[in-house]
């Protein structure tokens, strides 16, 4: 019950990590402070769970906290640089407004855990204070931004962000704690962008086209520009980087340099990230299953794992060979900044906790705002499910523009998060692979013997009559 007091001097930050089932409450007692660019209200209780975050102040402030966390106070003068970048972007937005042109399109690059998402968050938050509506694009499928993991999203940010959340989720049918943010979402369903490069690029292209259409209609979105949070793998793949730069028409790149001390660890980090993905999948696949599991399932599991291992090896290999790319491009301004001292090292365990939390909140809401999802039981045969083809599979196909393949609904769906896309089950596969995502459903139980499937829907009603996409994302309650 006792409250701890933290006094921050100007340009200091207080970082905290709340892990496992711990809870933390933070109060701003006096002064002015922000969490990744979002100002805190004095006296309000901010509650945190499963988060690594930090409170920064330009002015000095007094905080109080209670609960369990790992915390530290750091000097963080580098934030002034971030603010200066914001003001440069703002100058560009003003120019765009005067010339009726396009605002800046900024791509944020950096190795794993260099604070890319935090930088993007801060920059969009600052922009909203200037009444701008910057469009935040997330290309990192591991990072659940306005969607459970596995998706590419574009979200105009028009109002304050919810600092208690990792980022945020789609709106609910009633007043919510923060203003609604409406995202355009294309699912990739997999968690490694290299597993199905063509599908990944296809989804990026669709997202970029959607944004450009929106910009054509909406001048405040156009002049406010775009901020793109990219996966670290983009630093190593020239082809993908070129693809991003041209499809989103990027005008600027910020590269976050890893701290010198961490530089040596770079290759190790990559291999660690490789193991990550294996862990995500293997633990989730080996979750205790019901007795209904049959041998088909087990075979499938083995196949899956060997495939995954294969693709991981390839991924690791390609990264080991490649050097960080030369980032000099015509018409693109590239700058380098150092990572901020309070950067969060998100290990695989933590990343999985975050992903889990976001999926749970997608259906059940948060502590402050409970939601009532809807459970239905239906026949397995009522589902029309596709999965992305892996890159080798695409290469083997005659028509290389086909990126999805139908999956026979079976026990393999158990625990899967399925993306509901805006296409009829009877539509051509090419229409389905180009359809935007409308939401997600969760397979609580798939019983092959009785041919029944129990599904959690976010929205009450029937099973949507849409095509579904399955991938790497699993969840069980």
């Amino acid at each position: 019950m006792s409250r701890n007091t933290v006094i921050l001097e100007p340009n200091q930050e207080w970082t905290f990590e709340v892990l496992n089932q711990d809870k933390l409450s933070v109060y701003l007692v006096e002064g002015k402070a922000e969490i990744f660019g979002t100002e805190l209200a004095i006296g309000r209780e901010y509650e945190f769970e499963t988060i690594k975050s930090s409170v920064f102040t330009y002015f000095g402030c007094k905080l109080q906290w209670e609960g369990e966390c790992v915390e530290k106070t750091l000097d963080c003068p580098g934030m002034l640089k971030v603010a200066n970048i914001h003001f440069a972007l703002e100058s560009m937005r003003k120019k765009a407004e005067e010339n009726n042109g396009n605002g800046p399109v900024l791509l944020v690059l950096g190795a794993e855990n260099t604070g890319k998402t935090s930088l993007c968050k801060t920059l969009v938050s600052y922009a909203t204070r200037m009444s701008r509506f910057p469009c935040l694009v997330n290309l990192d499928v591991q990072s659940p931004i306005y969607s459970p993991p596995g998706a590419l999203t574009a979200t105009p940010i028009s109002h304050i962000l919810d600092v208690e959340e990792f980022f945020g989720l789609p709106p609910i049918n009633g007043p919510s704690l923060t203003r609604n943010k409406q995202s355009l979402v294309y699912t990739y369903a997999l968690l490694n962008p290299n597993t199905s490069t063509d599908y990944f690029q296809n989804q990026m292209r669709l997202l970029a086209e959607g944004i450009q259409e929106r910009q054509n209609k909406d001048s405040s979105i156009r002049t406010s520009g775009v901020i793109i949070d990219a996966p670290s793998s983009l630093l190593f793949s020239k082809q993908q980087l070129d693809y991003v730069l041209s499809s989103f028409k990027c005008t600027a790149i910020i590269v976050i340099n890893k701290n010198k001390d961490n530089e040596i660890l770079k290759t190790e980090d990559n291999s660690v990230s490789g193991i990550d993905e294996k862990v995500v999948i293997s633990t989730e696949e080996s979750n205790p299953q019901s007795d209904d599991n049959n041998s088909v399932k087990k075979d499938d599991e083995i196949v899956n794992e060997s495939k995954i291992q294969e693709s991981l090896d390839k991924h690791a290999e390609s990264e080991m060979i490649s050097e960080p790319l030369d980032l000099n491009f015509d018409n693109v301004e590239t700058v380098y900044i150092d990572e901020l001292p309070g950067v969060k090292r998100n290990d695989d365990v933590f990343l999985r906790q975050i992903q889990r939390r976001v999926i749970q909140e997608y259906f059940f809401g948060s502590n402050r705002r409970n939601l009532s999802p809807f459970t239905i039981t239906t026949n397995l045969s009522n589902l029309v499910v596709y999965r992305p083809l892996e890159q080798q599979e695409i290469a083997k196909n005659e028509d290389k523009s086909i990126l999805l393949v139908k999956v026979i609904p079976s026990a393999v769906l158990q625990n899967c998060l399925l993306a509901v896309v805006d296409a009829e089950p009877t539509d051509d596969v090419k229409k389905i692979q180009n359809a935007e995502t409308l939401g997600y459903i969760h397979v609580v139980e798939a019983n092959e013997e009785r041919s029944l499937i129990k599904i959690l829907l976010p929205v009450p009603g029937k099973l949507p009559k849409n095509a579904l996409i399955m991938g790497d994302v699993r969840y069980h309650e």
Binding site: M1, S25, R44, G60, N180, I221, V459
Partner: protein
């Protein structure tokens, strides 16, 4: 043993002389340790509140508040029978200026406690408390004559009268805020409303009036003071001395009424159940260091120079003020553009009541300070105040390359903060102090109000699907942020009659049934009318059960149809 605890605790209560968080915290901890003798503790506190002078009575209630909120049972149970008495005694004996504080305290009891999810006292007790206050407030305003029964029309009339009074008063930030609050209140009671909310609205209105009175009396005081500005702002030293004094009746009344200038109007939005106990170190910042908005405008840089040497308790040489000009005293610059930030002095005075300046804090506090070290005794600690005559660009950077290669002019930070001087007390979002900004702030508060109401009413909610590509391309974020033209929720709700729907019932047929729409379990109750157990607010269609209100809600029309259609097929 009970006796002993009673005596010990009574003695400990003697420490409760000032509004100090540490003391309240310690006493709460003692109460926690003595939970086995909780009735002795409760008696000690009750007797203390009854005996004490008015200011200490309030502090006693703050302690009580801390105990019931943090420790809960058995304390909340034990205080329950006596709280109405204690509260009403305190209310009667407190000066007018303190009453809003009691009102604020009461409000925090009406919302669910963060620890338990339910209010600290039972609805019956809260009702009594609210009666106590409305009666007291009413008798005050109508000088003894009891207020007629509140109804919607009379409330509207009263609101409009008050609006006229406000409109005839000289406009300032406070009045503007009151007007915007008034707008919000009148929106809430326009159209068909639940009569149960009226007393709450009345109370809010009464509170606003009280604040208005306090404000106008302060305005009058200020006018007097402004004729001798030196006394007011020119002598911070004198004000610092009062840090060491306990809170007592001789302090100016604004100490009580206005502890947080930004927050005083937000009580209806503050649903976090928080009462702010002031710390010793900042208990009297309000009247002196944080004058209301219209006054800070006079407190420009020259005024700092008078503050600083004294604030630093003469550790700086007398010639320092000469070098403190607009460009080189970045710390204070960064804090406020032409305004003085109360926190700065608090930071400085953090070390102790006598405002001793802790020199080790300086390097961090002045990250870009250019104090001239040539005649600066602070440098004897070797704390690295560099000799720089760095000048910052007056223009923001035009390119990223410029942004990363130059040092930012710290003044720019204010564009993200103090230049946007209106701030939503609930979420912290800022708005420019313009007509448009004010409108946005009103909408913002209204938004939080509706959201909190919705949460309290515990409507069942669910996630929505994303927009389709076409919908997204045509979506306007402006509608979300600036408000779409007239499509407020309450008006939709008025299309059907809630009360008559709620009285519909179905006799209980099985142990558990849930509403097909919201998935909530139906709760059974005994009906005299049906002489059976029934589910109230319930209807049955094709063997399925629905809340009558869920079923009738036009928003659920498609869903209900699809559920029934599915039932028809299967």
């Amino acid at each position: 043993m009970n006796r002993e605890v009673y005596e010990d605790f009574t003695e400990a209560l003697e420490d409760l002389q000032a509004n100090s968080r540490p003391v309240i915290k310690t006493l709460t901890e003692i109460a926690a340790e003595n939970v086995t003798y909780s009735d002795a503790v409760v008696n000690a506190i009750s007797d203390h509140i009854k005996r004490a002078q008015a200011p200490q009575k309030l502090l006693g209630l703050y302690l009580l508040d801390s105990i019931v909120k943090n420790l809960g049972d058995p304390y909340s149970h034990l205080f329950e029978p006596v709280i109405v008495d204690l509260f009403s005694t305190t209310f009667t004996s407190s000066p007018e200026a303190v009453k809003p504080k009691l009102n604020d305290l009461f409000r925090t009891w009406t919302v669910p406690n963060a620890n338990t999810g339910v209010p600290v006292f039972s609805p019956g007790t809260l009702k009594l408390l609210s009666d106590v206050m409305s009666k007291k407030l009413a008798s005050k305003q109508h000088s003894g004559s009891s207020r007629p029964r509140i109804n919607q029309t009379s409330l509207m009339v009263e609101i409009n009268k008050y609006r006229q009074v406000l409109e005839q008063t000289t406009k300032d930030a406070f009045i503007e805020k009151q007007l915007s609050l008034l707008d919000r209140i009148s929106v809430n009671i326009t159209g068909v409303v639940d009569p149960k909310i009226l007393p709450g609205v009345q109370e809010e209105l009464d509170q606003m009036k009280t604040q208005f009175e306090a404000h106008s009396s302060k305005q009058r005081n200020r006018k007097r003071k402004n004729t001798t500005p030196d006394e007011n702002i020119g002598n911070p030293h004198k004000q610092f001395q009062s840090h060491s004094q306990p809170l007592n009746t001789s302090l100016p009344e604004s100490t009580y009424t206005n502890p947080r200038p930004n927050q005083q109007h937000e009580s209806s939005n503050n649903d976090d159940g928080l009462v702010m106990y002031d710390d010793d170190t900042m208990e009297d910042k309000a009247p002196t260091v944080a004058p209301p908005a219209n006054m800070t405008e006079n407190l420009t840089v020259p005024a700092f120079n008078q503050y600083i040497p004294r604030a630093l308790n003469n550790t700086l040489p007398p010639n320092l003020p000469a070098v403190l000009n607009e460009n080189n005293f970045q710390f204070f610059q960064g804090l406020q553009p032409g305004q003085f930030n109360p926190n700065a002095l608090n930071m400085i005075s953090q070390g102790g009541a006598t405002a001793q300046f802790d020199q080790s804090m300086l390097p961090n506090m002045t990250p870009m300070a250019n104090l001239n070290p040539a005649n600066n005794t602070l440098s004897n600690n070797n704390i690295g105040l560099e000799v720089q005559t760095q000048t910052f660009s007056k223009e923001p950077p035009q390119s990223l390359t410029e942004a990363v290669s130059t040092n930012m002019n710290p003044e720019f930070i204010n564009r993200l903060y103090t230049d946007l001087s209106l701030q939503c007390p609930t979420c912290g979002f800022r708005f420019p102090n313009t007509e448009e900004g004010k409108q946005m702030e009103i909408r913002e508060m209204d938004w939080h109000f509706r959201c909190n109401k919705d949460i309290r009413e515990n409507h069942s909610r669910n996630r929505l699907y994303y927009l389709t590509l076409t919908q997204w391309i045509n979506y306007k974020d402006e509608d979300e942020v600036y408000g779409a033209p007239e499509s407020e929720e309450p008006e939709q709700k008025n299309d059907f009659d809630f009360e008559s729907l709620k009285s519909q019932f179905v006799e209980v047929t099985s142990d558990e049934e849930k509403c097909e729409v919201c998935q909530e379990q139906l709760t059974s109750s005994w009906s005299e009318q049906a002489e059976n157990w029934v589910w109230m607010n319930c209807i049955e269609k094709s063997g399925l059960f629905f809340h009558a209100t869920c079923f009738a809600d036009p928003e659920n029309k498609d869903l209900v149809n699809s559920i029934l259609a599915e039932r028809g097929q299967g």
